[in-house]
């Protein structure tokens, strides 16, 4: 009978340590939250705090007189909840209400939704959509991204 080789991470302390690291890495961004609103198109200009609020409330959809497309996260996303709390002081339900009022008035197209807080997927979508804008915790944004503005608590 073959005895199963013990995994490196099967001892209780190691498992607990792994769980702890997973927990910390999951919530670490929230302790010093900074979100970068970015594009993968280097030609898009830097934007002001007022402009980014107008954009994420669907009040404007233009930058440099060209139509932009927005990416957003799923409703259960940790990024989404924190971003809108900092940027607008609103809950995800309230933000959905604003977007519903626009989309069901024919005044705006809903943002493209990126699944599962996957920043790589957002970056891929932004590379395909040169007038696309998205947001993510600053440390997770790639170096070649064009950061339009950084949003942080207390602004």
């Amino acid at each position: 009978m073959n005895k199963k080789k013990p995994s490196m991470l099967t001892s209780p302390p190691q498992t607990l340590l792994l769980l702890w690291f997973t927990f910390i890495s999951t919530f670490a961004y929230a302790e010093d939250t900074k979100f970068a609103v970015f594009s993968m198109n280097p030609d898009l200009p830097k934007i002001s705090n007022s402009k980014v609020r107008m954009i994420y409330k669907g009040k404007t959809d233009k930058l440099n007189n060209k139509k932009i497309e927005l990416a957003d996260w799923e409703n259960n996303s940790r990024y989404k909840e924190e971003f809108y709390k900092i940027l607008l002081g609103k809950t995800v339900s309230q933000v959905n209400g604003y977007w519903a009022s626009l989309a069901f008035s024919g005044k705006a197209s809903l943002p493209h939704i990126i699944d599962g807080d996957n920043v790589d997927e957002l970056v891929s979508w932004l590379k395909e959509n040169t007038h696309g804008i998205g947001y993510a915790p600053s440390p997770l944004v790639p170096e070649d991204a064009n950061i339009l503005i950084t949003i942080e608590k207390g602004q």
């Binding site: 002001s48 233009k62 339900s93 309230q94 959905n96 069901f104």
Partner: protein
């Protein structure tokens, strides 16, 4: 009362709102399906049917407010798009919903030109009147929103010019024109036809990220039930909405030659709860007064419930005044006011 339909709509709501986001269902990258709905349990203490198209009485009603809407959006090219919205309104049978809009739109720089069936842009929430998840009330204040017999759409065209005046200010100007059309309204079992032979107007919005001012003008000629008398309506409306910290304020006034109606409303949000109160008055054609405190609870980011109390009162002492009742309460040997309680479920997908 129609309990099975209420159950059916609730099942549809819970099934469809299990999608993870308000993102529409992407059939293809250019073709989206989205939708909305609401349903309620409502009861007043007056036998006289209250509110046009809803007709709530002292008999507990399970489908007086039931709405279900589907919207299809298709981007044909970068500038050309088509949209269709089909709504089972409170007054419709499930088997006979209304096409609330069906249009083609074309973008040319700051202009958008649309043709087909469009929503009347008269009031702040006119264009999403049936999407109760998009406002905090159970129903938009009837003193203002029922002032033109509940008519919500027209067949014709419009142009919208939208411009960012600065980083924090946006202006849109929206002239519209509607061709002649007959609107049928049912009041209890009485059918009323309103025929319009001219409908022309202008809507303007000035918006910052946390506020909006709205003005609209509409001129219309109409007659009722094919009569010889043609009436000219010149309607003005002005409204504002403002979000400040956890507060939200909304107020609107509508005035034409037959009436002046207005409301003020405020809401306060704490996490998933929003409490609100609305005070409204109607004058001349709709002599009424109402106060509506309520609370909304967000079950998920796309599903909410409202519990609302409303006191509605006829303010005229003239006999057979009806205020926002659909018929005079004297016909039912009833008092001139009503206490209404509503429990409503709202959703979007």
């Amino acid at each position: 009362m129609n309990f099975p339909k209420h159950i059916i709509s609730s099942i549809i709501a819970l099934t469809l709102t299990s999608t993870p986001a308000l993102a529409a269902i992407e059939i293809t990258p250019d073709f989206n399906l989205s939708g909305f709905g609401s349903t309620s349990i409502a009861k007043s203490d007056n036998k006289t049917p209250l509110y046009l198209n809803r007709e709530i009485t002292d008999d507990t009603c399970y489908d007086c407010d039931t709405i279900f809407g589907i919207q299809l959006d298709y981007d044909i090219t970068d500038d050309l798009a088509a949209s269709l919205q089909w709504v089972k309104r409170p007054q419709d049978e499930w088997s006979d919903p209304e096409v609330e809009w069906a249009y083609l739109s074309y973008d040319i720089s700051d202009l958008t030109v649309r043709g087909g069936r469009l929503r009347l842009p008269l009031f702040l929430a006119s264009q999403y009147y049936y999407v109760s998840q998009a406002y905090y009330w159970s129903r938009p204040p009837q003193e203002v929103y029922d002032s033109i017999a509940g008519i919500t759409f027209y067949d014709g065209g419009d142009i919208t010019w939208k411009r960012d005046l600065s980083d924090e200010l946006s202006l849109s100007v929206n002239p519209f024109y509607g061709s002649n059309r007959t609107y049928s309204i049912e009041i209890t079992d009485i059918k009323v036809d309103i025929e319009t032979d001219l409908l022309i107007g202008l809507a303007m919005d000035l918006s910052g990220y946390d506020y909006r001012f709205h003005y609209a003008y509409m001129r219309s000629k109409y007659n009722v039930n094919g009569g010889d008398t043609t009436t000219t309506l010149n309607l003005h409306s002005f409204g504002y909405e403002l979000s400040w910290k956890q507060f939200q304020f909304m107020s609107e006034v509508e005035t034409d030659s037959t009436q002046t109606n207005w409301y003020v409303s405020t809401a306060y949000n704490i996490n998933d709860f929003t409490t609100y109160v609305t005070y409204a008055e109607g004058h001349q054609a709709i002599p009424s007064q109402s106060i509506t405190p309520g609370v909304r609870y967000d079950i998920t980011p796309t599903i909410s419930v409202n519990l609302e109390y409303q006191y509605e009162n006829i303010t005229s002492n003239e006999p057979f005044s009806q205020g926002l009742f659909v018929l005079p309460p004297e016909l039912y040997s009833e008092k001139k006011d009503a206490n209404l309680v509503t429990f409503m479920v709202n959703f979007i997908f």
